[in-house]
């Protein structure tokens, strides 16, 4: 099994950290992982994307242009990556700020209203965990326990009190994905 | 009484430092480098630290310094002597490290390294020979060349408006918090030599006591480059160089000397 994912959105939306949590979860599950960010001006407020690969065999290229799954958090990224999803692949997006919806018919398109739901729950920061939950509902490549274990590993100890909140967001994302 | 009656140990009033070898110095007759080389080695010998000292030779007239020395030496790229000295000292903080640099090396191409090494307060000793000219390459204008002074690249005299003013590096580094002892000396008269030796000794004592960076400028002559006889060059130095580069301590015990 090899899963090739692009996660894209605005800098500051937690794009890179979502990818990192996914990569950590893969390690918890003894998989090979690769996490390759776009870097540079993107770090300072523009768009950001990260290519994440999880596989049960050695990963060849960390650089990809075609993906099994695209996780999209803003319109620019949707415009940029809709065509990069392999036929039969998944495009998952948060509909906050999306005016031109994806139109391909040869891929599976899913929506998660994570921004809105996280705001309703009073913790807008965990919206990316909700998106991750939605993704894992569609592609259960790693278990919730391993995501939390991965999160624990990637977070400094002083943030460990946030683990429960993140887990709740992850599970809520699984429930609301459409 | 013939000469062999005089050459006896009990009559010995002066001998060459054992830290310098018997090779002939390559400096021009009358040049101050030879005296400065000797003073540095005498101080190191008298302090008994020769076995723990590493010198850094620059590019310029002093590039061959290691040829005359019995000390461990590293020959650095042009201007980089204090960076090399920093590398040596940081990995061997208990050894003595000094650089010996001319004005082109320290005050032109190596200005960045000089200022930042001084600013970091590396616990090393910098010996700076300032003769206001590039000696080795044949008498070109140096950053310290005086206004109006003729060199092969300022044949009509240094024009301040076109070529800038002579830079006073010693004053400049004395302003940096990292320097602990900053002084300007000369070696053209017996009394100047005695004072210069004391200053060099103080500089190495500062290093020994791990107090910070010590910087000793020696205003010197370049009779070949200046196209003067040695005696005339020394006179010219007193009359022209010393008013612009006055001798004396600029900073002692980390405190600026105000005059």
């Amino acid at each position: 099994m090899t899963e090739e994912i692009i996660i894209a959105g605005f800098g500051g939306q937690g794009v890179l950290s979502m990818g990192k949590i996914l990569a950590y979860s893969g390690i918890m599950q003894d998989m090979e992982v690769s996490w390759m960010p776009s870097y540079g001006p993107e770090m300072r407020g523009g768009t950001a994307n990260v290519t994440v690969i999880l596989s049960d065999k050695e990963i060849s290229s960390p650089v990809l242009t075609r993906f099994d799954t695209a996780i999209i958090l803003n319109q620019q990224s949707l415009d940029k990556f809709e065509q990069s999803v392999k036929p039969g692949g998944i495009l998952l997006y948060d509909n906050n700020g999306i005016s031109v919806k994806p139109s391909r018919t040869d891929i599976k398109i899913h929506v998660v209203e994570a921004t809105a739901e996280a705001a309703r729950m009073g913790s807008p920061k965990v919206f990316n965990m909700m998106v991750l939950g939605a993704y894992l509902k569609l592609r259960p490549i790693v278990t919730v326990d391993n995501v939390i274990a991965g999160l624990k590993k990637s977070l400094p100890a002083r943030h460990h009190h946030l683990l429960d909140e993140n887990k709740a967001a992850l599970i809520r994302g699984m429930e609301i994905v459409a | 009484m013939n000469v062999n009656d005089i050459i006896k140990p009990e009559n010995l009033v002066y001998s060459k430092t054992s830290l310098m070898n018997d090779r002939e110095l390559s400096y021009c007759p009358g040049c101050g480098h030879g005296t400065a080389n000797r003073l540095v080695h005498e101080v190191i010998e008298e302090m008994g630290i020769g076995g723990e000292t590493i010198g850094v030779a620059p590019v310029g007239c002093a590039v061959m310094l290691y040829e005359f020395s019995n000390l461990d030496f590293v020959q650095a790229a042009h201007g980089r002597a204090t960076a090399v000295a920093t590398g040596l000292k940081r990995v061997m903080p208990d050894k003595f490290v000094f650089s010996y640099q001319g004005d082109g090396d320290l005050a032109a191409i190596g200005t960045g390294e000089t200022l930042h090494t001084c600013n970091r307060g590396e616990n090393i000793t910098i010996i700076f020979i300032n003769n206001g000219i590039y000696g080795m390459t044949g008498g070109q204008m140096a950053p310290t060349t005086l206004v109006g002074m003729k060199t092969s690249t300022s044949p009509y005299g240094r024009d301040e408006k076109w070529m800038g003013s002579p830079i006073d590096m010693t004053k400049l580094v004395s302003m940096l918090p990292g320097t602990y002892y900053v002084t300007r000396q000369a070696v053209h008269t017996p009394s100047a030599v005695r004072k210069a030796k004391k200053a060099i000794q103080k500089a190495f004592e500062v290093q020994k006591n791990k107090l910070g960076l010590s910087f000793v400028e020696i205003v010197s002559n370049c009779n070949s480059g200046w196209k003067m006889s040695p005696v005339k060059a020394n006179q010219w130095m007193e009359e022209n160089m010393l008013p612009y580069y006055p001798l004396g301590d600029l900073k002692v015990d980390g405190k600026l000397i105000t005059k």
């Binding site: 990192k20 990569a23 950590y24 390690i27 090979e32 992982v33 690769s34 996490w35 390759m36 960010p37 870097y39 540079g40 990963i59 060849s60 290229s61 960390p62 650089v63 990809l64 242009t65 075609r66 590993k153 990637s154 | 020769g50 076995g51 723990e52 000292t53 590493i54 850094v56 030779a57 590039v63 290691y66 020395s69 019995n70 000390l71 461990d72 030496f73 590293v74 020959q75 650095a76 790229a77 980089r80 960076a83 090399v84 000295a85 920093t86 590398g87 040596l88 000292k89 940081r90 990995v91 061997m92 050894k95 003595f96 960045g112 390294e113 930042h116």
Partner: protein, 356 residues
């Protein structure tokens, strides 16, 4: 017990430096490798192992600090990216000329000039042909994964000391910035041995001089001949490479670093279509695996050199294959900061050998 972590290439190599018993690091920030010094500073290696980390005022100062610390016989390194490496070349030439060991990491980016901060492999010539003035080489390692970024660190120090030579680890923005699983080797002790040639004060022995200068051309030529003999030894003993699917291959790709990884993916595409392509990945770029490429060339219908440059390594592939002129050698690469995709490489491959 070895430890598994998720790390960027830049972080892995910094951690590996501490673990390899590195004595000192001198550097200057530049994208895309600033994580190296940031990681080192955060780790407080002076407390972990006694390793010194100092931020210099410039790349020029940093390489000369390396020169000084290397003269003291220490395991010492610096890191930078392309424009910064250009600045270091004077110092590298002096280090090579003075027979000193050190490790230099180049996390390469696109050029020329200030170029771009995005990945490139256009510093190949600079790395393997000398770069600075004079007849010298660095031994050049080219890691293609985060794991190799870590593993090449102790190897680089061993080779640097074995040959008393500067060793360059030539990486790029892809490998430097990508996070992968890395198995870290255990902490090695810092060496307490003082090499026979090091300067550290002449107590109890004759003084030593570290210099690259000799005004007598006949003596300087002798010194050059000794350098050349050293490079010949490297050619005979230190060639490293990886062969991937070469046994049944009709076509060969040659690629190093990030390009080798991307080329592997394009080879998957080729094999899905029944075209038998293999990969030869040089792990040492100097010495270059010429002999193995020459041997493989004999049974190939074509060779594609893939690098993120306008065509630099391809010259060495051409030299290696001059006994088989009937085998076409082609180059493909995006550059100036553009990273080629597996699809692009595959398409170029089909086009170059009329397989499309």
């Amino acid at each position: 017990m070895s430890e598994i972590r998720l790390m960027k290439g830049n972080e892995a190599i910094a951690e590996a430096a501490i673990r390899a018993g590195c004595d000192a690091y001198f550097g200057y920030p530049i994208t895309p490798q600033s994580e190296v010094m940031e990681y080192l500073m955060a780790e407080r290696p002076e407390k972990r192992t006694g390793m010194i980390v100092l931020q210099a005022e410039s790349e020029v100062a940093a390489i000369n600090m390396v020169f000084g610390a290397a003269a003291a016989g220490k395991r010492v390194m610096t890191s930078s990216s392309s424009p910064g490496i250009s600045l270091k070349l004077e110092g590298i030439s002096y280090i090579a000329g003075a027979d000193l060991p050190c490790v230099i990491l180049n996390v390469a980016r696109g050029g020329p000039g200030l170029g771009t901060i995005q990945p490139a492999q256009s510093d190949y010539f600079q790395a393997v042909k000398g770069g600075g003035h004079g007849d010298y080489h660095m031994l050049v390692l080219a890691p293609a994964s985060v794991q190799e970024m870590a593993d090449h660190m102790p190897l680089a120090f061993d080779l640097a000391f074995k040959y008393r030579t500067p060793v360059m680890i030539l990486s790029d923005g892809v490998i430097g910035q990508t996070m992968e699983k890395v198995k870290l080797f255990d902490q090695m002790p810092r060496s307490t041995e003082v090499p026979q040639w090091a300067v550290c004060g002449n107590a109890g022995r004759k003084n030593r001089i570290i210099t690259s200068l000799d005004l007598d051309p006949v003596k300087k030529e002798q010194q050059n001949l000794a350098l050349q003999a050293k490079y010949q030894q490297m050619r005979e003993n230190e060639v490293r490479y990886e062969k991937y699917l070469c046994d049944d291959a009709d076509y060969l790709m040659v690629a190093y670093g990030a390009s080798a990884r991307i080329a592997k993916k394009s080879i998957e595409y080729a094999r899905e279509k029944g075209i038998k392509v293999g990969l030869l990945r040089p792990i040492t770029l100097f010495p270059f695996p010429s002999a193995v490429i020459a041997e493989l060339a004999k049974k190939m219908k074509g060779i594609l050199s893939v690098e993120m440059s306008a065509g630099q390594m391809v010259e060495d592939v051409l030299l290696a294959t001059r006994q088989t002129p009937q085998v076409p050698v082609k180059h493909f690469g995006r550059y100036g900061g553009v990273v080629h995709s597996p699809e692009e490489i595959f398409e170029a491959f089909l086009k170059h050998f009329n397989l499309g």
